[in-house]
């Protein structure tokens, strides 16, 4: 297969776009497309201070790379979850983030959950019923709280994450299967800061397939953690991705159309009148972050319960 732009041997074929590109043109195409998505969705401007949540994985490091190449001022935030599982998962993840930051002379903020809150994520999981049932839910809750706090305290204009189209389509698939109206209403490439203390959030890679972000990281020579998070084994999100890839195999573009048409439908008001009103947000008495709870937010309750 040949590159559509220059006729050289293609490195990747994107069946949903009927587009094959060589290494050089692919490495140009991804940042150009990202810039287009940033502008189309008014995510941020070159004057904004951006905080990129980096995990050491392919998506977030690719995102950091793309944004800095596009000239944005982007610092990294790594959250040390304290997951070891016999092969030092968190230590390895931190290593890749630090290496990327050092090699590119970028600023990386590191928050270690145990140092900051007294327990690692596996310890929080052990100490709470919620964590025993759903370790990823506790991890997600903790990361959201910490990311927002660091972005708010550091006066960043926007917090960006490396969510790709497969991530978004899998979440949409799960929310649709369960008809979770309030979650459907909130899902999108930009989450506005619609309450004091909440930082604006954006997902600049939301239209790229996971295959494409992986290809970008590989072709750019970005070193990332290839091992899957040990707690993610059997996670529903992975199962949904596999199901969607089965559909994609037979009908290229299915995942993309599923998600983009959802966004269009939402913009057109399809869900607005049917979904219940969400409760007004309060301010957490402990950390000062917005919460639907009248006193403490779910994360602070979790930390308090796990403190001996």
């Amino acid at each position: 297969m040949k590159c559509r732009k220059c006729g050289a041997k293609a490195a990747i074929n994107m069946r949903q776009h009927k587009l094959a590109l060589c290494k050089q043109h692919y490495l140009e195409w991804i940042p150009t497309q990202t810039q287009r998505f940033i502008e189309e969705h008014h995510m941020f401007s070159p004057e904004d201070r951006i905080l990129v949540a980096v995990s050491g994985g392919k998506d977030s490091l690719a995102l950091w790379d793309i944004l800095t190449r596009l000239g944005y001022q982007a610092d990294g935030l790594y959250i040390g979850l304290g997951i070891d599982s016999g092969f030092g998962y968190s230590d390895k993840s931190l290593h890749f983030c630090q290496k990327y930051a050092e090699d590119h002379r970028l600023s990386l903020i590191v928050v270690d959950v145990k140092d900051a809150y007294g327990s690692t994520i596996p310890q929080l999981n052990e100490k709470t019923p919620r964590g025993k049932d759903k370790p990823c839910a506790v991890c997600g809750l903790s990361k959201r709280n910490i990311m927002n706090r660091v972005a708010r305290d550091g006066d960043y204009d926007v917090l960006v994450t490396g969510h790709n189209l497969d991530d978004e389509a899998a979440v949409l698939f799960g929310n649709t299967l369960n008809w979770l109206g309030s979650y459907l209403l909130r899902q999108g490439p930009v989450l506005e800061a619609d309450h004091p203390g909440l930082v604006r959030k954006a997902k600049p890679l939301f239209r790229f397939y996971e295959r494409e972000t992986t290809a970008y990281a590989l072709l750019r020579g970005i070193e990332y953690i290839y091992d899957e998070c040990p707690h993610a084994e059997g996670a529903k999100s992975i199962y949904y991705k596999e199901v969607l890839n089965q559909l994609e195999r037979n009908r290229p573009g299915t995942k993309l159309i599923f998600y983009l048409n959802f966004l269009k439908a939402k913009e057109g008001g399809l869900f607005a009148e049917q979904a219940p009103e969400t409760d007004p947000l309060n301010t957490c008495l402990t950390c000062g972050q917005p919460t639907s709870s009248p006193e403490q937010c779910a994360f602070c309750r979790l930390v308090e319960r796990s403190t001996p």
Partner: protein, 68 residues
């Protein structure tokens, strides 16, 4: 007993022996690996799935799915 017309596909810790002469996509389908879930590489270079697998090839598949 192995034949001389074989190649190897590697996915994480698993190794699969496939016949040379077929495309990467056909080999993946035969092994029931969803092509959308991996990227095929040969000697460190990314290859598209219409590439023919040649005698003695070692194709490393990079899993693209992550989550949790």
């Amino acid at each position: 007993m192995g034949t001389s017309m074989t190649a190897k596909l590697i996915l994480r810790k698993e190794e699969f022996e496939v016949k040379s002469g077929m495309t990467v996509r056909s080999a993946l389908e035969k092994l029931e690996i969803v092509p959308e879930s991996v990227i095929a590489t040969r000697q460190g270079d990314l290859i598209t799935d219409d590439e023919l697998i040649e005698e003695g090839d070692v194709i490393t598949l990079i899993s693209v799915i992550s989550g949790g």
